[in-house]
C-alpha cells in the first residue's frame, strides 16, 4: 500500500499518538476495564477501576495471596464465592464470563456491578488474554429490588386479607385466585389440583349452591356484557358440604382508553350477618304473627289518642283494610256503640291526660253490624324521661261472657224475687189462714149472737153460748199472732264472735248485683279494729239485707244521681258498737209505727221487714231505731253489745 509521506508523521510518532488516544479512551469510558492472564492474574485495571477500588495493580501484590484473590476480596462476601467459582470455571473452559455482584468501593460502600469478560485467543486458539468490563448497576438493582419488594408485599397482602380475591379476563378465561381462595377450593373441591386452571363455569358448578348458581351466572354474564360492576349474594360450599352466605363485588379494570382488560372480584363471607338478618326477619315475622294471631284485638295510639295501628284480628273484626291508614283514622269514630261512645271518649280522654291505665267494657260494632261486648285495656309506654310515647291497647271479646253473666244475674234476680215472693206469699197465706179461721168464726158467732138476742123472745141461752165462743176464738187468734212473733224472735242458732265490718263487706258484696242494677251505690265508713261481737251471722246478715233493700226501695221514687246508701260502723261507748244505714229515699212518714207488724208504706210490702229486724237485734241484746234525715232520707241504726270477753 503506497504511503503518502507528506501527510504521514513518522511511524513512531503516530504510534505514540494512537497509544495516547487509546489510553485516554480506556481511562475515560464510564466502565471498569480490566485484563487477566489466561490463568486469571490481573494485569491491567483502567483508571476508573483503580479510582473505584482505591487500589492499583501493585497494591494487589500481597504476600501469600494471588493478585486475583486480592481482587476477589473487594467483592461482597455474599457474592465472592460465586464470583470465584464462575470465574475459575470460565478460565478453565474459556466460556464468556458474566455476573452481577456487589463490589466494595474505596469508601467501603458496596455497589452493584454487572461484569462480563471474554478471552482473546491467538491463531492456534490458545487463550492469550482475558478482557473484562464491568459497570455500575446499583441504581437499577435497587429499583428492581424495590419493585420485587413491592410485588411481594402486594402478593402477601392479597394473600393475607381475609377476603377471597379473584380476577379474570373473560367468562371463559382461567381465573386467578388469591391464596385464601385457593385454600378454600382445596378444602372444598376434592380433586382441585386435577381441575388445572379453573374457569368460572367450573366454579359455579363446584362451589355455588345449586339454587343460586344460575342467578350468579346470569348476573356475571350481564355484568361482563354491560361492562358494569355488580354485587351479588349467594351461598357457597364450605368444608363438609356446609353452605355459607357470601357477597361478591365485581369491578372492571379499564385501560386509559376505557377498554376493559380485567375483571376483579372480592368475595366476603357474610353468613353470620345473613343469618342474623334471617333470624331478625324470622323474629319479626313471628312477632307480627303473634300480634296478629293472639286471640285479642291489639291497637296502638299516639299520645294524642290517634290510632296508628291495629292488628289483623281487629281489622278483620272491624272489617277494615289494614293498609288503609285513612280508614283507620275515621273508623274509630264509628265503631263504638252509641250508648258507650261518650263514656269511652271521656274515660280514654282522661287517661290520655293523666297517663292512668285505661280499662273499660264497651260494645264494638263488628263488620256485620252486630255490636259485641269488649273488655278494653290500654297502658302507656314512656321514654326515659317519663314522657308517654305510645299507648298500647288490647281488647278482647267478652260478649258471650257478658250475656252469660247477664243471664245469670237475671236468673238469680228472678230466683231471689221468686223466693222472696214465695216466702212472703206463703207466710201471708199461712198467717191469713191461721188468723182468718178464728176471725171467720168470731164474725159468724157475733152475727148469730145478735140474732139470738134480737129474736122474739130473745134466746139468751144461745146468745151466751155464742158470746163465749167469740171470746174463745178471739183468744185463739191472739195466740196465732203470738206464735208468729215468737217465730221471728227466737232462733236457736249458735252465736259466735264475729267481725261486724267483715259481715258488712260480705253483705255489700252479696247485694252488689242488686244495688248496681238499681244504680244505687253503697258507701261504707267502717271504723277499723272494732271488737268482735257474738252474733248469729245469718240473722244479722238478714238484718243488713233487709235494711239495704229497704233503702234501695225507698230510693226507687228518687230520681237523680245521688242514690247512695251509706253504712257506718263505730264504737258506741265502752260496751257496744253501733251501725247506721242511711238512705236518700222518701223517708218514714211515721217513724214510730214502722215496727208494727204489717205496717208498710210500700206498695208490695208485707210490713214485716223492720219488725223482724228489730226483733233480731233485740234478741241479740241490742236496740234498733229509725229516724228521718234532713233534708230527706231515713236512717236505721242499731247497737250490738260487745261479747263479755271483749269488754274492756
Amino acid at each position: 500500500m503506497p504511503i503518502e509521506i507528506e501527510d504521514q508523521k513518522p511511524v513512531n510518532e503516530v504510534l505514540r499518538d494512537r497509544e495516547h488516544e487509546l489510553s485516554l479512551l480506556v481511562d475515560m469510558v464510564p466502565s471498569h476495564l480490566w485484563r487477566l492472564t489466561p490463568d486469571g492474574e490481573p494485569t491491567f485495571f483502567n483508571k476508573r477501576m483503580v479510582d473505584f477500588l482505591g487500589l492499583d495493580l501493585p497494591d494487589t501484590d500481597r504476600p501469600g495471596m494471588s493478585r486475583l484473590e486480592a481482587v476477589i476480596e473487594t467483592v461482597h462476601p455474599d457474592d465472592a464465592a460465586e464470583f470465584r467459582g464462575r470465574l475459575n470455571r470460565c478460565l478453565v473452559t474459556g466460556e464468556r464470563f458474566t455476573m452481577r455482584y456487589r463490589l466494595r468501593r474505596a469508601d467501603g460502600v458496596y455497589r452493584w456491578m454487572s461484569s462480563s469478560a471474554e478471552p482473546m485467543r491467538d491463531r492456534d486458539g490458545q487463550i492469550v488474554q482475558w478482557y473484562g468490563l464491568c459497570h455500575g448497576i446499583d441504581d437499577q438493582m435497587h429499583a428492581e429490588e424495590a419493585l420485587r419488594q413491592s410485588r411481594r408485599q402486594l402478593q402477601q397482602m392479597i394473600d393475607a386479607v381475609p377476603v377471597r380475591i379473584w380476577s379474570v379476563t373473560s367468562m371463559d378465561s382461567p381465573v386467578y385466585f388469591n391464596k385464601r381462595y385457593q385454600d378454600h377450593f382445596r378444602s372444598v373441591i376434592a380433586n382441585f389440583e386435577a381441575i388445572g386452571e379453573p374457569r368460572i363455569e367450573t366454579l359455579l358448578r363446584e362451589l355455588i349452591h345449586p339454587e343460586d348458581a344460575p342467578e350468579v351466572q346470569r348476573t356475571l354474564l350481564n355484568c361482563f356484557e354491560a361492562g358494569r360492576g355488580t354485587v351479588m349474594r349467594f351461598r357457597w360450599r364450605e368444608k363438609d358440604d356446609i353452605y355459607r352466605w357470601a357477597e361478591c363485588r365485581v369491578e372492571p379494570r379499564r385501560e386509559q382508553d376505557g377498554t376493559i382488560v380485567q375483571w376483579y372480584g372480592v368475595s366476603l363471607d357474610i353468613d353470620d350477618e345473613m343469618r342474623a338478618q334471617v333470624a331478625l326477619r324470622e323474629r319479626e315475622r313471628e312477632l307480627s304473627l303473634l300480634v296478629d294471631m293472639v286471640p285479642s284485638n291489639l291497637w296502638r295510639l299516639t299520645p294524642d289518642g290517634e290510632t296508628t295501628l291495629v292488628n289483623k284480628r281487629m281489622a278483620d273484626f272491624l272489617g277494615m283494610d289494614l293498609d288503609d291508614k285513612q280508614q283507620l283514622a275515621v273508623v274509630f269514630d264509628t265503631i263504638f256503640h252509641p250508648d258507650d261512645a261518650g263514656a269511652v271518649e271521656d274515660v280514654l280522654g282522661r287517661c290520655l291526660l293523666t297517663g292512668d291505665r285505661f280499662s273499660m267494657k264497651y260494645r264494638l260494632r263488628r263488620a256485620d253490624g252486630v255490636y259485641r261486648w269488649m273488655s278494653g285495656r290500654a297502658e302507656p309506654l314512656r321514654d326515659q324521661d317519663g314522657r308517654i310515647v305510645q299507648w298500647f291497647g288490647l281488647c278482647h271479646d267478652i260478649d258471650d261472657q257478658m250475656h252469660a253473666e247477664e243471664a245469670l244475674r237475671r236468673a238469680s234476680e228472678r230466683l231471689a224475687q221468686a223466693t222472696r215472693a214465695a216466702s212472703l206469699a206463703e207466710l201471708s197465706a199461712s198467717i191469713a189462714h191461721e188468723v182468718n179461721q178464728p176471725l171467720a168464726a168470731i164474725v159468724a158467732n157475733s152475727h148469730a149472737c145478735h140474732r139470738w138476742l134480737s129474736a122474739e123472745p130473745p134466746n139468751v141461752e144461745r146468745a151466751k153460748i155464742t158470746a163465749e165462743r167469740i171470746t174463745r176464738d178471739a183468744n185463739s187468734a191472739a195466740e196465732v199472732v203470738g206464735r208468729i212473733r215468737a217465730l221471728f224472735r227466737h232462733a236457736p242458732e249458735a252465736r259466735l264472735p264475729e267481725d261486724v265490718n267483715r259481715l258488712i263487706d260480705e253483705v255489700c258484696l252479696l247485694m252488689a248485683d242488686e244495688t248496681t242494677a238499681k244504680t244505687v251505690c253503697v258507701e261504707t265508713t267502717l271504723e277499723p279494729d272494732l271488737p268482735l261481737v257474738a252474733l248469729d251471722r245469718v240473722q244479722i246478715q238478714q238484718v243488713f239485707v233487709n235494711l239495704i233493700r229497704n233503702g234501695v226501695e225507698a230510693m226507687d221514687a228518687v230520681a237523680g244521681s245521688a242514690r247512695a246508701i251509706k253504712i257506718r260502723s263505730y264504737r258506741d261507748g265502752p260496751d257496744a258498737i253501733r251501725v247506721e244505714v242511711r238512705d236518700d229515699g222518701t223517708g218514714f212518714k211515721d217513724p214510730q209505727r214502722v215496727f208494727e207488724p204489717f205496717f208498710t208504706t210500700k206498695a208490695h210490702g208485707m210490713g214485716m221487714g223492720l219488725a223482724i229486724c228489730r226483733s233480731i237485734i233485740e234478741s241479740h241484746g241490742g236496740r234498733l231505731w229509725t229516724a228521718n234525715n234532713e233534708p230527706r232520707g231515713a236512717t236505721v241504726a242499731f247497737t250490738l253489745p260487745l261479747a263479755a270477753s271483749e269488754m274492756p
Binding site: 182468718n436 179461721q437 176471725l439 171467720a440 168464726a441 159468724a444 158467732n445 152475727h447 148469730a448 165462743r469
Partner: protein
C-alpha cells in the same frame, strides 16, 4: 122462723167455723148439717129437701173446686164457696162450674143470707124441674112399644098419612095410637104433647118435607 123443709150442708175443716156457721144459720132459721171432710158429706144420707152446700175451698182431703167437678156429674145442691183468700181464677172457675157464690172469710151475715137463699131457690127450681121430668118419664113408661114408635113421628110434624106410611100401618090405626098417646101422656093439646116430648128429649127423626120427598 123458717120452715124446716130446707137444709144447709157445711163442709169446712175448721171446727170453730163449722160450729159458728151452723149457729148463725140456725139463728136465721135454717137447719144445717156440718162435715169436716168432703168424704163425710158424700157418705151422709141426705134428706130430700131443698138444700145448699157451703163448701170451703181449702179442704184437707180434696180441693173444693176439684170436689165441685166430681159432683157435677151427679144431682147435687147448689154450691156456695167459702175461702180464706179468694183469687180471681178460682172464683171464675167456681162460678163457671155452676157455683152460686164465692164468699171470702170472714163472711158477713147479709152476704151469707143472700147466697144461701139464692142457692136454695135455685135448688127448689131444679128439684121441681126434676120432679116434673120424673112424672113425664113415668107417663112415657106406660106407652106400648108401637106407641113409642109413633110418638117421635107425630111430634116431628108428619101428617098422619105420612106417619102411617112410615110404619106401614093404616091411617086409622095410627090415629088410634095417637089418641092413646095423648091420653097416656096427659097432654091437653098436640102442642102440649110436643112440649112434653121436648122435655123428654125425644129425638125429632123425621120432617114433613123429607117424608114428602120420599114419596
Amino acid at each position: 122462723m123458717k120452715p124446716p123443709e130446707e137444709i144447709v150442708f157445711i163442709v169446712d175443716d175448721d171446727a170453730r167455723v163449722r160450729e159458728a156457721l151452723g149457729e148463725l144459720l140456725e139463728s136465721l132459721g135454717w137447719q144445717s148439717a156440718t162435715f169436716a171432710v168432703a168424704a163425710d158429706y158424700v157418705a151422709y144420707a141426705k134428706p130430700d129437701l131443698p138444700a145448699c152446700l157451703i163448701l170451703d175451698v181449702e179442704l184437707p182431703d180434696v180441693n173444693g173446686l176439684e170436689f165441685q167437678r166430681q159432683l157435677s156429674s151427679d144431682v147435687h145442691p147448689p154450691i156456695v164457696f167459702l175461702t180464706g183468700h179468694g183469687d180471681i181464677p178460682s172464683t171464675v172457675r167456681a162460678i163457671q162450674g155452676g157455683a152460686v157464690d164465692f164468699l171470702t172469710k170472714p163472711v158477713g151475715e147479709s152476704d151469707l143470707i143472700a147466697a144461701v137463699r139464692a142457692a136454695i131457690q135455685r135448688d127448689r127450681e131444679q128439684r121441681s124441674t126434676r120432679a116434673e121430668l120424673a112424672d113425664l118419664v113415668r107417663r112415657f113408661s106406660v106407652l106400648t112399644p108401637r106407641e113409642r114408635e109413633v110418638l117421635p113421628l107425630v111430634v116431628s110434624g108428619l101428617l098422619n098419612k105420612q106417619a102411617a106410611a112410615e110404619l106401614g100401618i093404616s091411617e086409622i090405626t095410627l090415629e088410634i095410637h095417637r089418641g092413646k098417646i095423648m091420653h097416656k101422656m096427659e097432654a091437653t093439646s098436640f102442642a102440649d104433647l110436643v112440649r112434653i116430648a121436648e122435655k123428654l128429649q125425644i129425638p125429632i127423626t123425621h120432617s114433613r118435607r123429607s117424608g114428602n120427598s120420599r114419596e
